[in-house]
């Protein structure tokens, strides 16, 4: 199963994902790592560096899964972070995505 890396942007707290082009706001644009080890390595090498540069807070690697042809977070917590509150579809990233 593949993995991605998320964090909260320091300035506004918004959830961001690591991509080859830096940090992006949507999971669809996130870089996918083939396994946990690769994700952990990127976390240490790249995400931690940006954390030290005070761009973001709490970077973490998490598992992905495929559902209905779409990539989403395997665990509900990360899925909610990637989409927004399930009780407010008008807010968070899902509001833009929909």
């Amino acid at each position: 199963m593949s993995y991605a890396i998320s964090a909260n942007r320091l300035r506004d707290g918004v959830v961001v994902f690591l991509s080859p082009a830096g940090w992006v706001e949507h999971l669809a644009d996130a870089e996918r790592f083939p396994d946990k080890a690769a994700a952990e390595a990127a976390l240490e090498a790249r995400a931690r560096a940006d954390e030290k540069r005070n761009l973001l807070v709490d970077p973490t690697a998490f598992e992905l899964r495929e559902a209905g042809g779409r990539i989403e977070a395997a665990h509900i917590r990360e899925a909610i972070r990637a989409n927004g509150p399930t009780v407010r579809p008008d807010l968070g990233k899902q509001a833009v995505a929909n």
Binding site: D12, G13, N54, I80
Partner: protein, 555 residues
């Protein structure tokens, strides 16, 4: 109404200035997150799942219209147009940016508000009965004492770094609406045989991982000793409380491990030894603070319009029956504005709704608004003849749900939809239960029933003291819900008992319905409410109802 004296205003202004500087240094990279986090938390700013969250203190839940309008303005300008009223009588903004926070705190300070004491191991903001100063059964308004405690504790260096957070609640009526027995210290105003008023003192209550009902360590404490006695309790705790284990650090663990007798003796010894003259509360000071809470002058008002509308409009009559509470002043009532629309998010209010409430408070409510720990708003002083007008305005603004105290008046914490500590969602469960039972005939037939839902063991949703409590957990990546029955946060305080195996999200509403149906079947009459019936018949019949069909998953 209390206003900041100059000292307080200066204190708050200094704190905002200091925080602005800290935010600047954090954003420029001079401070690491580790260094910054304690400052952030001391100013009520958390980092949650989607964004930062700012928790604004509303001491003892009292607001005026100017403050409510400011909260609405902040919601619009710096957030996403709404706020969430919490079980701690606070307001939370779910989307502020770090960069904006100092400006928000400035805005709050301009209406004598702040976010201090909403976080950290200090004495948190003091809570009180939301019907204080209005309730028909009240001995004395508890808020002056809550305020005295707040002023005294907010700047007390000795108590800024306690083993854990510390919560105090004060109630002034025999009917405990402030859940004082679930707090680290609970003060209940009582009258002694000589006819003097003072406090019964409860210590060591709490929810969270290890729920406990407080023990009474004193029957009667004279008012002038309020601070000296509080200091004695906090000192014993500060000295003896465990700092080695976060989960054992609350005063409830100390009380539990050492026992009632030890606790009483230790506090009394500390109390006797303290140099009382420095912290004795002179009655002049009590009177000075009380003056800020002096009741408004109530013009004599009739009730003809109110009665007539009750007779002709069944929806209004239903609203009046649940949402209007008896006032100490004839011709007046306290009006609960339910923030629990059927299927809605408990405790959320839009900026527009906040403005509407401010307007109504100003025109019809002596400019007073309360926030209840049950996540509703209250206009404590409304002339009954004005209630029809107020109701009509509330109705067009989605604020006239007639369910205060009924099954759909559910407390729910933000849960996994917002909270980074959550193990499961709580709001969607509340929404589905609310839709199942509604606010109509069925809900009224069921009568008083408090359902409380938490999204993790921290119990911000007070599930331990719900008549029906629901705790959201995670099992193997799946949200599951544990049900407790028989909890109560009032003067008959008790911690609920777990029914047995938990339920999946799609099962939990049916499970609640089976519990409710069983209650309807066992009650002696409509006058026997859920809690009374449960206490009479015990867990067995409910367990049967829940598990007879084996629908409880084995988790």
């Amino acid at each position: 109404m209390y206003r900041y004296d100059e000292f307080d205003a200066g204190f708050v202004a200094d704190r905002v200035a200091a925080f602005r500087e800290q935010v600047g240094r954090r954003l420029s990279g001079e401070m690491t997150e580790e260094q910054f986090r304690p400052h952030r938390l001391m100013n009520g700013l958390y980092l949650q799942l989607h964004a930062y969250m700012l928790r604004v203190a509303i001491p003892y839940g009292t607001l005026n219209s100017r403050q409510m309008r400011k909260l609405a303005h902040i919601a619009r300008r710096y957030d996403k147009g709404y706020g969430h009223f919490t079980t701690r009588q606070n307001l939370q903004y779910n989307w502020p940016t770090l960069a904006d926070t100092p400006a928000i705190l400035d805005e709050l300070a301009s209406v004598e508000m702040h976010a201090i004491q909403t976080s950290g191991n200090c004495i948190r903001n003091v809570t009180a009965d939301h019907f204080a100063g209005a309730a028909g059964d009240e001995i004395e308004d508890p808020r002056p004492y809550a305020e005295i405690l707040r002023q005294w504790s907010s700047i007390h260096p000795e108590f800024s770094f306690l083993p854990r957070k510390f919560k105090i609640a004060v109630t002034g009526a025999p009917k405990d609406r402030a859940a004082v027995q679930t707090h680290d210290i609970g003060y209940q105003i009582v009258r002694n045989e000589a006819g003097e008023t003072g406090f019964a003192v409860y210590v060591g209550g709490g929810q969270g991982r290890t729920p406990m009902v407080a023990v009474k360590i004193r029957e009667f404490l004279a008012k002038e000793d309020l601070l000296a006695y509080t200091q004695a309790i906090v000192r014993v705790y500060n000295l003896e409380g465990r700092r080695d284990n976060k989960y054992k650090a609350r005063i409830k663990i100390l009380v539990h491990e050492k026992g009632l007798e030890w606790m009483t003796q230790s506090v009394e010894a500390e109390f006797a030894a303290a140099a009382r003259e420095f912290i004795e509360l002179p009655s002049a000071e009590i009177e000075r603070i009380k003056a800020y809470f002096a009741p408004p002058t109530f013009a004599a008002r009739g009730t003809d319009g109110y009665k007539a509308r009750r007779q002709t409009d069944p929806r209004f009559a239903a609203f009046a029956a649940t949402n209007i509470m008896a006032h100490r002043q004839p011709g007046y009532g306290s009006l609960t504005i339910s923030l629990k629309p059927i299927g809605g998010i408990p405790g959320d209010a839009s900026a527009e709704q906040m403005d509407v409430v401010a307007e109504l408070a100003e025109r019809y409510g002596h400019d007073e608004i309360r926030v209840s720990h049950e996540q509703n708003l209250i206009l404590p002083h409304v002339a009954l003849d004005d209630v029809p007008t107020v109701y009509d305005v509330l109705r067009v603004n989605g604020l006239a749900t007639a369910n205060a105290g009924l099954i759909s008046d559910i407390i729910a914490c933000p849960g996994l939809d917002y909270c980074s500590l959550a193990t499961a969602r709580s709001i969607p469960v509340a929404q589905r239960i609310s839709e199942r039972f509604g606010e109509g005939e069925r809900a009224r037939e069921i009568g008083e029933l408090k359902i409380k839902i938490s999204g993790c063991i921290n119990a911000c949703g007070h599930h331990h003291v719900g008549h029906i409590g629901i705790l959201g957990l995670e099992r193997k990546g799946v949200e599951t819900y544990q049900i407790t029955l028989g909890g109560s946060g009032d003067e008959t305080c008790s911690v609920g008992t777990i029914t047995g195996p938990g339920f999946l999200s799609e099962e939990v509403v049916d499970a609640i319905e089976r519990v409710v149906d069983r209650y309807l079947a066992v009650r002696t009459s409509k006058d026997e409410d859920f809690l009374t019936a449960y206490r009479r018949v015990g867990m067995a019949p409910f367990k049967d109802a829940l598990y007879e069909t084996n629908r409880g998953a084995d988790i």
